[in-house]
């Protein structure tokens, strides 16, 4: 009868929502042990999800960094004259798929080594044991192998080196790890959802008469459902608090420890911000998701509204 007054409707909806929140929170307390069990299950699951995501994302980042930095190191044989080297440079640069080819004399190589490893090495200046080197970069990381093989066939080549096998191994490892992790996490997610849906079932059974009366006097289906959905959501949110806290703390420690030791390296870990906030948001979202999904499973089965 007041349906035409929008401000009245809004006030009613807010009041209804308050009622639903109150009911769902009361239920959490009433189901004490089941609440504890499902929150614990969600906590363990989300903690593993969080750590797993943290590791996988960082390994991906490292793999990306390394992949982008795969260089072919071409050692020029000692009997190559200056014009041979110039010709070689032209040939290499002319190859399809070559982005750049930088020449570095054996003297420059030694200077780099001395810079990296200390003055002791400068005694090699008397008789430099190194080779002249071309640093070749392929336009696409995938072409690295083809380019390397083609260069190896040229004259005056002592040896060709690149991250042969290492990158592949890293990727194989990443894929295997990802699959095992995903299966483990799916199993855990199902366990957590099952426990949540069990908790909600207990609430539904405990409030059978109440639900029956609600339906008889004409409460809408959503009115009946919402408190249970909220209860599931609280379970998910409560279960995500500890994992978020631990993941943030852990990553803070890791970045503090690792970052300075990796400065100047070819690969880096993901920056603390925004990465860890994204992981936290993901954990919270998954908590809310399994909570709501768990209650829906129970509602569908035990609450035909």
């Amino acid at each position: 009868m007041y349906a035409t007054q929008p401000e009245v409707i809004t006030a009613m909806k807010i009041r209804t929502f308050g009622r639903h929140i109150k009911e769902s929170l009361k239920s959490l307390g009433r189901n004490g042990w089941m609440t504890f069990a499902s929150v614990s299950a969600v906590t363990v699951t989300l903690l593993l999800v969080g750590v797993f995501v943290m590791i996988m994302m960082n390994l991906n980042k490292v793999a990306d960094d390394l992949e982008n930095d795969v260089e072919i190191k071409v050692f020029v044989s000692l009997d190559a004259e200056e014009e041979d080297v110039a010709e070689l440079e032209e040939e290499i640069s002319g190859l399809e798929g070559v982005e750049s080819a930088d020449f570095s004399t054996k003297e420059e190589e030694l200077t780099d080594l001395v810079l990296d490893f200390g003055e002791e090495l400068s005694l090699f200046e008397q008789s430099n044991p190194l080779f002249d080197v071309f640093y070749v970069k392929a336009t696409e990381p995938q072409q690295t192998e083809t380019v390397a093989n083609e260069i190896a066939a040229f004259e005056y080549i002592e040896d060709v080196e690149y991250g042969e096998g290492k990158i592949e191994k890293l990727f194989n490892f990443l894929n295997a790890g990802r699959n095992v992790g995903l299966i483990l996490i799916l199993a855990l997610l199902f366990t957590a959802m099952f426990l949540i849906s069990n908790t909600i079932r207990i609430t539904i059974v405990a409030r059978r008469t109440e639900i029956e009366i609600m339906k008889l006097v004409g409460a809408t289906n959503w009115f009946v459902r919402v408190p249970f959905i909220l209860e599931g959501m609280w379970l998910g949110i409560l279960g995500s608090i500890i994992p978020i806290g631990l993941v943030v703390l852990l990553y803070q420690k890791i970045t503090e420890f690792v970052q300075p030791r990796l400065s100047g390296e070819l690969f880096q870990l993901l920056e603390f911000s925004p990465f860890i906030y994204q992981v936290s948001a993901l954990i919270l979202a998954m908590g809310v998701f399994i909570g709501i999904w768990g209650s829906f499973m129970s509602i569908r089965k035990f609450l035909r509204v």
């Binding site: 009245v8 009622r19 008469t209 109440e210 009366i213 006097v217 004409g218 409460a219 809408t220």
Partner: protein, 228 residues
């Protein structure tokens, strides 16, 4: 108010509860539904508030086609129908006032209106002075009066009572019937399934007898007609 044409109901387990029922009940009528147990009375009653739906045939309640009514529209049908049961179905955690108010709260009525209406109906059923008491502190008759108050607090057009005096002694039963008469006199249709011969025979109203899923007798001011 209620129209049934060839209403047929077969449950998934194969039992035929209603076998082509035809009946019409007008607004403001008072109707007794009688018949042996398992004759189809309960199914008949449950269809009125769409707890069950017909397998075939047409059924209109307040102009709404029960067979075609979408699930999400059912709550709005039920807001026009009050239901009273043999076992009262009160919530033990709530006091008398809260039990009655519950029916309005869950359909999101305004608090001011809830307060007014609840006190009004509690006054009508004579329990205003026991508003703060809990169901376990009341007699059976008083509990049934609370459940009646809850069923009419939303001013429904029809009141459906399934054996409302089944758990009550004769004196208390008459109190409840007086209340029904009073509610009926305000224009509310009353449909009451009962096994109470004395009431049906003394307080004369239309009697519909159901046996084997069919109406075997339909008489205005009829008698109970069974020996039990």
């Amino acid at each position: 108010m209620i129209q049934m044409k060839n209403v047929y109901k077969k449950y998934p387990n194969g039992i035929v509860a209603l076998n082509g029922l035809n009946v019409e009940i007008a607004q403001g009528e008072f109707v007794y539904i009688v018949g042996p147990s398992g004759a189809g009375k309960s199914t008949f009653i449950k269809m009125m508030y769409r707890e069950e739906r017909p397998s075939s045939g047409q059924m209109l309640v307040d102009g709404k086609d029960i067979a075609k009514l979408k699930n999400r529209k059912v709550p709005f049908l039920r807001r026009d129908i009050g239901v009273v049961f043999q076992d009262f179905k009160l919530l033990p955690r709530l006091n008398v006032y809260e039990n009655v108010a519950f029916a309005l709260e869950v359909i999101e009525e305004k608090p001011q209106i809830i307060k007014e209406r609840v006190m009004e109906v509690l006054d009508m059923v004579g329990l205003k002075h026991k508003a703060k008491m809990f169901p376990r502190e009341l007699s059976g008759g008083e509990q049934q009066r609370v459940s009646i108050a809850r069923s009419i607090v939303n001013t429904p057009k029809v009141m459906i009572a399934d054996e409302p005096t089944g758990n009550l002694d004769p004196d208390t039963s008459w109190d409840i019937m007086n209340l029904f008469e009073q509610i009926n006199s305000t224009g509310t249709t009353i449909i009451m399934a009962t096994h109470n011969r004395e009431i049906v025979n003394k307080l004369r109203h239309r009697v519909i007898a159901i046996e084997g899923g069919l109406i075997v007798r339909d008489a205005a001011g009829g008698d109970y007609g069974y020996e039990d």
